[in-house]
Symmetry: C2
Subunit: 346 residues, 2 copies
DNA sequence: GATTAGAATAATAGCGCTATTATGTAGCCG
DNA sequence: CGGCTACATAATAGCGCTATTATTCTAATC
């Protein structure tokens, strides 16, 4: 007489699995799986039976099991400096919209401008065997680069263009933004220029805009230019403080470019308080074209970065790469440019 | 003579697995797994050997395999109306900071205020066996509720409080915001009040603020109040348009509450253009205390919702629930309140 | 020094799904 | 009408990890 077989293992589990669906539809699990992955390969009758079973059982697929079996997931990992920042929020939103259409999920992380955190975030991102990784900017640690290269995952670097690219990139040249701002102010007859910047020590892209600005301004005959900066994140309050410092240190200033529109808005308000006429006595150029810029008084001349387009193009590259996964991956660099919106403030 | 055994299956795989690490450290995979999950249970010598092996091999754990085996993941799924919206961006950032400390990953989705999309997003979220789900607001479809209830996953509803809660909630009462704005204007001696709102048909929380405003205003003796709205999302531009409509339709208006600070900013700019003195002829109250509100000219009286605190508290509840997963889950409702910041505009 | 609790490590058995291969079944041709 | 292709479905064998159970190995006790 055999000893009663003891129940040995007890495992947690999903309530409804693909096996339950298959049983109810009187088909094999393989066919149900196929129904999800390649619906066209399943007959109409089978499809209907499966759909009914799914509905009746309220089946929710387990994407972790699927991803493990397929050795890949439908997750796209996005790492931005900050979600609080309207620029990146716009790009993230666009990415999510476009990727969502292909049933790709967004996993979001932010570095809060601490670049050395990026490696950990990338490591965690790769733990999910993502379909692609989106990074902000071009400067990444050697370890981060190695991790990503070894993983063979498609990479898109966004919001900045430069000389090197890991895989794909979508963005624009920030030094050109600074150059454009300077050129515009000079064209408006301004000779004493300032760049007001926030957090330039951490925000490399803003720093590059400042450099481009200075370069163009100092190469122009009869024009002088300087940078005034503040370590805090950009805000209207910081903009007001910077404007005060500007008129104190450089009373003859007549052209100002700001690292972004928050700063510029602060400048506008502070000039109203100080009775400095814009644009008569002082021309102001911003960066960002934020939601308030066109409605400001005076309306703000600004340089608009195509945050939305960056997201859309990045998504397009990712999707193209995924659909063409057998083909030789080819590098892609998309320069989205930017546009100067000339309004009342200059 | 046996036929040569043909190679049958070929599978994609991770380059370095926990088995490789174990082999290199001359330990079993179990011990390596333990090293990750309960480091204290592994001897110092073993820990060191494992750490060395991980480093040498550049091992990246596969969280999908881990999640599948453990029947749970370290993902927290967050569903907000819009990441473009500074309010939610702040909360998402705070959540991410706090959850990140516990090695919990954020998976983000947005509905763009289309409530009927929420069910699909929740379904996808649940496919990852998340450790928790965070939803915005209290109104969810019956199917969404059922999905979530059946999943037994901890739920936190944020940014709104009301009579019912699915599981846990962190937020405040939006009708009280409207009441506070109205009371404040009345206290400042204003009798002809307006609420300027954007997208009230989709943004239920803004609509509730409007209701609260109207209720309090109309219950006050000698006070009249109306709502003017615009279907577009809130922006300074819309604010300017609404102010124009306001002074046209109600020339005697002397107190305005706005559905948020973008609207209020537009009102301020438009009043500057029209020569309407704030606060002498018109008092303005906003909602949000956005980055520009304190720096505006005049500085904007506004009601500050604690977006950051909401994120922190939500994270706290989630972490507490996860750490106490064996205990009876207990409902929790946290009223974060909000605060009126009295500045120059009223 | 035999006994044993406790700590550390190892073996075992899947988690739920997909990719691959195998099988069955029509449809078509010479 | 045998044989072949194309299509639909099923069987098979894991993906890389964790939870459980089993086995050591140490250290403490009498």
């Amino acid at each position: 007489m055999a000893a009663p077989k003891p129940i040995r293992t007890r495992r947690k589990m999903q309530r409804v699995t693909i096996m339950d669906v298959a049983a109810r539809a009187e088909l094999s699990p393989s066919t149900v799986s196929l129904y999800f992955r390649k619906p066209d390969a399943v007959s109409a009758a089978a499809s209907e039976a499966i759909a009914r079973a799914i509905d009746a059982l309220d089946y929710v697929p387990n994407l972790m099991a699927g991803g493990l079996a397929a050795a890949s997931s439908r997750v796209v990992s996005i790492i931005v400096p900050s979600v609080r920042n309207a620029f990146f929020a716009e790009t993230v939103a666009a990415l999510q919209d476009e990727l969502g259409k292909q049933r790709l999920q967004v996993m979001l992380s932010h570095t809060e401008y601490k670049e050395h955190d990026e490696e950990n975030l990338v490591r965690t991102a790769l733990s999910w065997a993502p379909a692609a990784v989106v990074l902000t900017g071009l400067s990444h640690s050697a370890a981060t680069r190695r991790l990503l290269r070894d993983s063979k995952v498609p990479i898109v670097e966004i919001w900045e263009l430069g000389s090197t690219t890991m895989d794909m990139a979508v963005g624009f040249h920030h030094d050109q933004v600074g150059q454009t701002a300077a050129s515009h102010l000079i064209q408006r007859g301004r000779k004493r220029l300032l760049f007001l910047g926030a957090r330039l020590h951490e925000d490399r892209r803003a720093a590059r805009r400042a450099e481009g600005f200075l370069e163009t301004a100092r190469n122009a005959p009869g024009v002088t230019a300087d940078i005034i900066q503040h370590p805090a994140p950009a805000s209207a309050e910081v903009g007001g403080m910077l404007l005060n410092e500007a008129v104190h240190r450089f009373p003859d200033v007549n052209g100002i470019a700001c690292s972004n529109d928050h700063i510029a808005l602060g400048v506008i308000f502070e000039c109203q308080r100080l009775g400095i006429a814009i644009p008569e006595r002082l021309s102001v150029v911003g960066f960002g074209d934020l939601s308030f810029s066109a409605a400001a008084n005076p309306s703000l001349t600004t340089i608009r970065p195509p945050g939305d387009l960056i997201g859309k193009e990045a998504a397009r590259l990712i999707i193209a790469r995924i659909l063409n996964s057998d083909a030789q991956p080819k590098q892609a660099v998309i320069d989205t440019r930017f546009s100067l919106l000339h309004r009342q403030s200059s």
